[in-house]
Amino acid sequence: MSERRRAAAWLYRLGAGRGRAAALVLLALFLAVQLGAGERLFAAPRLALFDSYERLLPRVRKSAPVVIVAVDERSLARIGQWPWPRTVVARLVQAITAAHPAALGVDMLWPEADATSPPVWVQAQGALPAELRDALDALPDHDALLRAALASGPVALGIAGERDGTPDHPGPLAPVRVVGAEPSALPSILPAFGSTVRSLPLLDQAAAGHGLLSVDRDRDGLVRRMPLVSVVNGRPAPSLGLEMLRLATGAPWIDLYLAHGAAQGVTVGQLAIPSQAKGSVWIDYTADDPRRFVSAADVLDGSVPAGTFEQRLVLLGIDAAGLVDHAITPLGPMPGVEVHAQFLENVFDRRYAERPRWAPLAEAGLTAGLGLLFIGGLPLLRLRWYAPAGISGLGLLAAAGALAWVRARWLIDVAAPAIGDGGVLVALLGGGLADADRQRRRLRRELERRKLEAARIEGELGAAVRIQMGMLPKPAALAQDSRFTLDAAIVPARQVGGDFYDFFMIDPRHLFIAVGDVSGKGVSASLFMAIGKSLCKSCALRGDGVPDIGAVVRRANAEISRDNVEMLFITLFAGILDLASGRLLFCNAGHDAPLLLRGGAVPQRLPGGGGGPPLCALDDFDYPAQSLQLARGDLLCLVTDGVTEAMNRSGELLGHQRLAAALAALPPAAGASAAVAQVRSAVAAFVDGAEPSDDLTVLAVQWRGADAAPG
């Protein structure tokens, strides 16, 4: 790759390529949505995330400042069905207040008079014997008994807030001082109730405190937050837990702090409780815990250990199947009264779950930070690392969220950043995949082009081989001459090579034969072969009469050497056979010496030496002619090194000895064709299917005598 293209590729990697542009746009859009409407849009995943924090990493219950006296199954079995006569309830309240609790919160409502109270019962009966009526009238009123019990200690009575409904009697409410805003601003900040359901005024007025039983229910019905102060008929009213704290601390009032149109928190005496903007507190739950509960039956029996209620916050509530109103919390359903207990435990541990004011900004920051990291970093990686790296990034996000929860009880919503940055990841992955696809298609096109190119070259080479083969003379052309037999064959290797043979009559008496081999392979070798063969022939036919074979080779050498830029060379054996005398004049330019088959004797190679180097090796070498007298029936076999260096599968070369042995096996009267066929089959048997690496050329000529009979 050139420098410029490398630089361009880097710019592309750093710049808009690989899905970066799309990812950046996506990130910007998501940030706008997250900052603009994220609180509402991502509420569901956020709450699911916070619920999972609560479930997986719940609060550990350290202190036990709260005891719940529960009207449970056992109590119902002992006392009888609910509602109990208020005399029993009065006894229960009395038993608790007598044990000096810090405060007693009553999670019950008695809006109607006790129907079992004698005066009420008498009223309901109509006509009764005067004696009975007087006796009953003398009995104490149940509600009066309960009233006395409620007044006997720091008791806070529950109030139920109703969004709409008939307003109940306007009973007393705890004093709440609003600091930092006009009380008229309260309904726009705090949860507001149009009406309340309260206990009988008789009871209501007896109690020292009054607190709302209502909890914050989210759209999905789960209770996650406890409102500290709500608005009832325009007046601020504390929750039951907060009111119990006021009674316990002996504070005359509760201070509610507001600023910038949002609640900041409350103080009760020395105690400060920070709140969310709408005046509520995230409840940091522990699982439903039976150790918080004491059975009302045991309290009535007096079998509760002494000191159980001493200086503790006591809640009175119902926990019996069919009667209890369960609150659904992130940790599962639990009795409503236990939600108030959990809130009070949070206050005592001074550890509040909190969604900090700065959380939305921090979350947008997380989205932007990780998103930009993805956009900047991922495209520098290989595509297959996108998903692992991206998921690691999102994992870090999740870990950061969990850490904030564990260390500071901060509710940081990493779900929204995960959604946004997950989208960025997908966009980058999509871009990367599209990129890879484009690249793959480009490579495929390139490959296609190269294949076509290769096919074209192959075709041209095939044509070269065909032309080369076409240049070779056909042995059949001389088959009519009875003075000699001659045959020749070239088996071309897969790659085009530079072997050739040639034969022709110089005049009716003289036969020219030649076998040559151009060093090297490929188109240059085959072209060189064509030039070499033509030059040899033209040199042999130049002038009148029978030329000197040495001079023919000298001329051919000089002419071929002139234009030999590739520095190829040609080994050549050329000879002129006098068909009348059997005398062969020949010149060997670096070629393998031919084998002579004479009268059934072992084939002999003509002695080496006396020739010269291959054509083109030395420009002006003085090639000498040599002479050999053939006898009738003598056969000369010429081969190129494609024969002697044919390689079998174990890497052995055929060699001269195997070649000689193969020819020795010929019958005594065999002609040139049999010799050529024998050589070819010997090579084929030896290589046994191994791919030939070189052309294989064999030429055989047999002198049968000047007067040999045809056939």
């Binding site: 081999d517 060093s519 090297g520 392979k521 520095m567 190829l568 060379f569 080994t571 060997n588 330019a589 670096g590 070629h591 393998d592 010496a593 080496g608 030496g609 020739g611 010269g612 180097p613 291959p614 090796a617 030395l618 070498f621 090194d641 260096e645 690496s693 070189d694």
Partner: protein
């Protein structure tokens, strides 16, 4: 194919081992030309460890020999094994390159001043 080089003052001895054939002839040619570029007086090819050389290998030596000639460096071939010697004899390349029985003999003829260094090895 491995080849050991010995540097003597202005001359080099290259000792290729194994086979040179179609498959590695091109690499052999490159090696020869590279080594030749460092030689000032003579390059001696010590063929004592060369087992076989094909015509493509001979061509590589021929090309190197031409380059040597034009650069004024003498190129000699020495210490051929019988098989390689026969190849040289058949192809008559023994007429193209000066061939010597040993490296010492080659240096004595082609680069006498390197002889002392050779003997000191």
């Amino acid at each position: 194919m491995e080849a050991k080089q010995t540097r003597l003052s202005g001359s080099l001895i290259l000792r290729p081992a194994g086979r040179v054939d179609m498959g590695n002839a091109e690499a052999f040619k490159e090696l020869l030309l590279r080594v030749l570029a460092e030689a000032k007086t003579a390059l001696v090819l010590d063929l004592a460890e060369l087992e076989y050389i094909s015509s493509a290998g001979l061509r590589a030596i021929m090309i190197a020999s031409r380059a040597a000639k034009s650069g004024g460096v003498a190129l000699g071939v020495a210490a051929m094994q019988p098989v390689v010697a026969e190849i040289f004899a058949i192809s008559r390349f023994d007429l193209v390159f000066p061939c010597f029985a040993s490296c010492r003999e080659a240096l004595a003829r082609l680069a006498p001043d390197a002889l002392a260094g050779f003997d000191a090895l």
